[in-house]
């Protein structure tokens, strides 16, 4: 089982996340202890297994009830602003993520936050949209874009601030095959460290390291050649009992 460490790692040290529920408290993650330093890591698991919660820890969108989370040496709980400047998050539903009426304006908003002067923003935004392949839709309303185009626009908005780490929460869920291919191609060329939660085992298999989450805990961690077939088996026949509380 690979277990990386170091300053360029995303680290969860014995992290538990709980949330209030109607009947008391719900445990979303339990005692997760992992360090991720690979340039690309995939996280797979059933719905409700804790994948999104796990990803959100590294952007400070979810706070641990116990344990600590660090991103490249910075404690997320201590300096969430610094972490968010370095960590971009792409949500499953881009319509929630795009806050401006058109893709170009949304990317401009990111550039504005990054301190890019007004005179340079439009050209830089169009360049980014060109890079993700939707420059021809730059001025269209986000409501007129397809799901794939919205996802790519959200992606461009995140890339605009040049993060060191990208967290992608089920990025291919809403995409058709063509846009999925386009996204995979784009991910391949990115220099950032990527942590991708996904149900898309094809996408997971492109990462050198795959984590399997079940019931809020990591039940497998290794190269896709070993982990993905095991995960498929568990989906069909049940997960290992020792992973459960």
């Amino acid at each position: 089982m690979p277990h990386s460490s170091g300053a360029a790692a995303l680290v969860c040290a014995d992290v538990t996340v709980t949330a209030p529920s109607g009947s008391g408290e719900l445990t979303l993650l339990r005692g997760v202890d992992v360090s991720v330093a690979e340039r690309r890591t995939a996280v797979v698991g059933l719905n409700g297994s804790g994948k999104s919660t796990f990803l959100r820890l590294f952007n400070g969108l979810v706070r641990p009830s116990a344990g600590t989370v660090t991103v490249h040496g910075t404690d997320v709980a201590r300096d969430v602003r610094a972490v968010r400047r370095r960590v971009g998050f792409v949500f499953t539903d881009p319509l929630s993520q795009l806050v401006m009426p058109t893709p170009v304006e949304d990317v401009e908003l990111s550039l504005r936050g990054a301190g890019v002067p007004r005179a340079r923003r439009r050209a830089a935004a169009l360049e980014l949209l060109e890079r993700v392949g939707i420059a021809h839709r730059a001025e269209h309303s986000i409501y007129d874009l397809s799901g794939g185009e919205r996802q790519l626009a959200a992606f461009a908005a995140v890339l605009a601030v040049e993060p060191d780490v990208l967290l992608l929460d089920e990025p291919t869920t809403l995409l058709d095959l063509r846009n999925r291919g386009r996204l995979l191609e784009l991910l391949e060329g990115l220099p950032q460290q990527l942590l991708i939660s996904t149900h898309d085992l094809g996408l997971a298999a492109t990462a050198p390291r795959v984590l399997v989450l079940n019931d809020g805990g990591i039940v497998a961690d290794g190269p896709p050649g070993e982990v993905v077939p095991a995960y498929e088996q568990w989906c069909a026949h049940g997960f290992p009992q020792e992973a459960r509380p």
């Binding site: 602003r81 968010r84 949500f91 401006m100 058109t102 401009e108 007004r118 007129d144």
Partner: protein
């Protein structure tokens, strides 16, 4: 999700005089129209201004269909208000009230059609600069305005989706059946948007 009615319109690139006009000139125009309408002694002033703005907007590329899409959702309210004012204060007063509303709807559409929202945002932020004196952040105010404009079509579209869902189940879309899910979906949308903003560092 359905797209809600395009109440205010959105920016369409162009080279018309209005497209090329600087933001400060548009702001002055906005103030001038507002003062003229508010201080006008009769309905004729908003009527003339509406006509002029429709001409200017059409020259900037706003098509008849877009004018209709902007005004149609307001028609039920305008009719109700018209009847109320005709009965209560007479036709001239009713025309004054209705044309005052219409002139601002038309003005908003012309402004939105010819000005990128990011430029408007810059203007709002500049205009709100003095709030720094009391510790507020003008950037946040500008962002709130843009979020409001961006969210109206979402909320209206989600109500349309709910109406369709009720129809699909063979029920009548009674407003009471729509209110609770509409509020829940709007709150959930607000939470997701808040999270997305936080993730982008706008917290």
């Amino acid at each position: 999700m359905s797209r809600g009615p395009d109440l205010f319109g959105s920016y369409a690139p162009g080279t018309s005089v209005l497209h090329r006009a600087p933001l400060w000139a548009k702001a002055l125009g906005l103030v001038a129209v507002s003062l003229a309408v508010v201080l006008a002694p009769s309905w004729r002033v908003p009527a003339v201004l509406t006509g002029l703005l429709v001409l200017a907007g059409s020259a900037a590329g706003i098509r008849a269909r877009q004018w209709w899409h902007g005004l149609a959702p307001a028609l039920p309210v305008l009719v109700l208000l018209g009847v109320y004012h005709v009965l209560g204060a007479g036709p001239a007063a009713a025309a004054d009230v209705l044309l005052t509303i219409v002139v601002f709807l038309v003005l908003t559409r012309v402004l939105m059609h010819t000005t990128p929202l990011s430029a408007l945002l810059d203007g709002v932020v500049w205009l709100c600069g003095p709030v720094r004196l009391v510790g507020a952040d003008p950037g946040r105010i500008g962002l709130a305005v843009s979020l409001m404009l961006r969210s109206i079509p979402f909320v209206v579209g989600s109500v349309a989706d709910l109406r369709d869902a009720v129809h699909a189940r063979g029920l009548r879309p009674h407003p009471v059946r729509l209110v609770t899910p509409a509020v829940i979906s709007t709150v959930a949308y607000a939470q997701r948007t808040g999270q997305a903003l936080a993730a982008r560092g706008f917290d």
